[in-house]
Assembly symmetry: C2
Homo-oligomer: 503 residues x 2
């Protein structure tokens, strides 16, 4: 068994490293690659994905998994070897169902589509992206249809990112959340809007970067095993447990953009940096689901980074970076500004209360597109109509409407967005568990100390990687299944202090 | 034939793209990778090299080449298809002689050694590098011995980079060059040294970067298909014809470093950007030899960039970037400073006259190490003794002595250095041919116009890639074989105007 396990790990190590290489190609494409590099980069991504796929579907892996199955069954569920074999089998069985040609074609298309999007979005040019999106939708359906027997065609695509979730489950959670969110939004919208003009002065980029890096260094992001660069659409990416990078973007006329994006991505990155180093080179070495991943980024961005306690410590430091802009802005005014609730255009800029409505819109469109109840050609109008209905405003252009998010322009249509809202919900649920175990955390945050929280998350969530599924992890860590109650309670408490909520 | 050629090109395209990926991994490692990424990067480099090697040695390629041989023989020598088949066969036959295990092991070792060197060099720690170098020497011998029948064990390694050259040929050229160089050096050394204090003031990096980028934009380096980043040891690298990047390093207390390094690397990069785009994805799409490559970098760095005519145009602009440092320095003083001849420690900083002595030293050590007439343990002492003999100074430390160049710490011992001097020699020979065809070039350079020279080089040298060997190209472009005469004449004319040369 020892020898077979070693052989399996050797196979997986190659796949892990090839995935790391694909990550580097994507990171470079998104940060530094000159325009002229695009055609070759599409080919390079495609060949790496193809080789990784070919190596994964090697029947030798299937044979090794079969041979190792009795060993896995002889072990406790929580044993690392059992988890390795269990997770590898799950992913292997998923991978062998997708033809290599499809993987290759999708990968090449994704790179070309992304490159076009980086030009088409600033040019507000939906027409240019329409054929790309149509092809993406077609590929997404083909991909889903590699997994027949689904209840909803989106299920396999959702499963890729949030294993164990289905369209129907997500719909139910979202319906419940929507029902409880809309009255809060309506109550707030009936009141005077918060004044966030203090964030909309001129904030030189270099100072924003310096402050942001300082904050995440305090959070515990390890710069010996990572770095931050600028990009269009921020992301975190892992090339190995020793090299987990974040990207960000700054606006000199809006302080909120870069600051919270940096905190957000650091949450994703700390999850990956916090993996059990023993898992390096295996499929266990990755966050367990899109939703759990997002719970970590939102926890640091919102639950910590937009809390009043956090700013009791950091606001004087921020003022020191921007004395002209902020010295005459009291903490409470600043705190209210960074938590301004409004009906806004951009998902990534949205406040915690309305954010999930942006996600629900996208999720519903993904289902409709996949079902065939909506065409790509009709998507811009449908987007604007739904946006008007949900937010009371119509996007003035596609740039800040249907073209705003990278996801559909780089990956599948289907499964791309639900994780954001599941993450919001889980951020409150996990944070509640952390506080139950360590009631001193809020006071520590007020001192700019994050060690206890970081360590609790590392121990309870990060180190496990994919060892436990999202559902198992939530149960294990919080003692109950996913529930929206802590998140709703969090919103009501926090925004009840900022607004009058008769709900 | 059409179908077989297409099939061959499909194979080659994969190899080309994998080499591009290896380039990206190296570029990232040398520019942005955090320390913690090193162990995985070594594995990632190794797996890419291994896969590229495996794909190249696929017997299907040998079969296709055999099938295509009659077609190749039916074509004129200069036909692109004939060149493609000829060059692919040459490189295929070289590649199949090297066992995959050796390639893989060397690649992993190279990455680990490079990473260690980036720490050991600043720490002046030769002892740390000794075991790496010993392993490198052992690998280099193993590699050479994959090609039995050589006259000298270095021949196969020289052949990798300067196809058609042998240790004996290089020795003969170097002996001749040395005999003519030493009297020039001695004559100059007997005179008052030039004063280069005007280059040794404080020059803020951002201004250096701005000036350097402006110069190479004028040279014709295409930033839509490239970019510049900072590194330890500058290099140019190609991921595709559309993505050819350069790296540089700046010293704020010495203006010469970054400025000439930038021009140098732009010469390499313009060669690769100037390849016939039809060659993309084949083995023709690369500069034909180390020597010819270096001739292009040295042509732009020295023949153009250190000429008086160039500075007639650019010196006022440089002064505008650095008014406090240079406004009271006359052009002639500056020109003399950037061409100061001196016995210095660092090859890459050396002037045109002494530079080749640095190369000859390294070349001779490579031969001695490979022959077994010198051990790695004895190398530092041997280095210092030879340096004392050739330059009259003993390196004060290993950092600026035996540890200074990356080559032995990242690649073979053997074949690593001769190209630099062959390049110097060829830079003058090619430039002479360009002037014979376009006598207006020197006057254009005085106007800051480089279009004629750029286009002449692109047409006569760059576009051909590997279609012609170095020897063929030199004959074809200059009408005679490689000769040191133009280079000696260039040195005597230029330095005869700066110093009294009774030679």
């Amino acid at each position: 068994m020892e020898a077979k396990l070693k052989e399996l790990k050797a196979h997986l190590n190659d796949i892990f490293d090839l995935q790391g290489i694909a990550g580097i190609l994507y990171w470079d494409q998104s940060t530094y690659m000159p325009k002229g590099g695009a055609p070759a980069r599409a080919r390079q991504m495609a060949i790496i994905q193809r080789i990784a796929h070919e190596k994964f579907i090697d029947p030798a892996i299937g044979q090794l998994l079969d041979d190792l199955q009795p060993y896995a069954e002889s072990l406790p569920y929580e044993h690392d070897d059992a988890a390795l074999i269990r997770v590898t089998r799950r992913m292997y069985e998923r991978e062998i169902k997708v033809p290599t040609e499809l993987t290759t074609a999708m990968s090449a298309h994704a790179a070309a589509s992304y490159q076009a999007w980086t030009e088409a979005r600033p040019a507000n040019d939906f027409a240019r992206m329409q054929p790309y999106l149509e092809k993406t939708l077609d590929f997404s359906r083909q991909l889903a249809n590699c997994f027949p027997g689904y209840d909803h065609i989106a299920d396999p695509l959702i499963d890729f990112r949030d294993y164990g979730m289905k369209a129907e489950t997500v719909r139910a959670v979202f319906a419940d959340l929507r029902a409880q969110t809309v009255p809060i939004v309506q109550a707030i919208m009936a009141q005077d809007p918060a004044d966030d003009s203090c964030l909309r002065k001129h904030f030189p980029e270099s100072q924003q970067i310096a402050f942001g890096l300082d904050v995440i260094r305090h959070f515990g992001y390890d710069f010996d095993r990572g770095r931050q660069d600028k990009t269009h659409h921020p992301f975190a990416t892992k090339f190995s447990i020793g090299d987990v990078r974040i990207t960000t973007r700054y606006k000199e006329n809006f302080l909120g953009e870069g600051m919270f994006s940096t905190m957000h991505e650091s949450g994703h990155a700390m999850y990956e940096q916090g993996l059990n180093p023993e898992y390096e080179g295996t499929l266990l070495a990755r966050g367990t689901s899109s939703g759990v991943h997002e719970s970590q980024s939102r926890l640091w961005e919102n639950v910590v980074g937009r809390s009043r306690g956090f700013w009791e410590h950091f606001y004087p430091q921020l003022q020191a970076h921007f004395p002209d802009q902020l010295n005459d802005v009291p903490l409470d005014e600043f705190y209210r500004a960074i938590n301004k609730v409004e009906r806004s255009l951009i998902r990534t800029d949205a406040d915690e209360v309305t954010y999930n409505l942006h996600v629900m819109l996208r999720f519903d469109f993904e289902l409709a597109l996949l079902e065939g109840n909506l065409t790509i050609a009709d998507l811009p109008d449908a987007w604007n109509a739904r946006f008007e209905a949900d937010f009371g405003i119509t996007p003035p252009d596609h740039k800040d409407g249907v073209l705003q998010d990278v996801h559909w322009f780089y990956s599948n249509i289907g499964g791309a967005f639900q994780g954001y809202t599941l993450g919001n919900v889980l951020s409150a649920q996990f944070y509640g568990a952390a506080l139950a175990a360590n009631p001193a955390i809020p006071d520590q945050i007020k001192q700019g100390e994050f060690g206890t929280l970081h360590e609790w998350l590392r121990t309870n969530i990060w180190q496990h990687g994919r060892k436990f599924t999202a559902n198992e992890l939530v149960e294990r860590v919080t003692g109950q299944p996913l529930t929206i109650d802590p998140y709703i309670a969090y919103l009501k408490t926090k925004y009840g202090a900022l607004y009058t909520l008769e709900v």
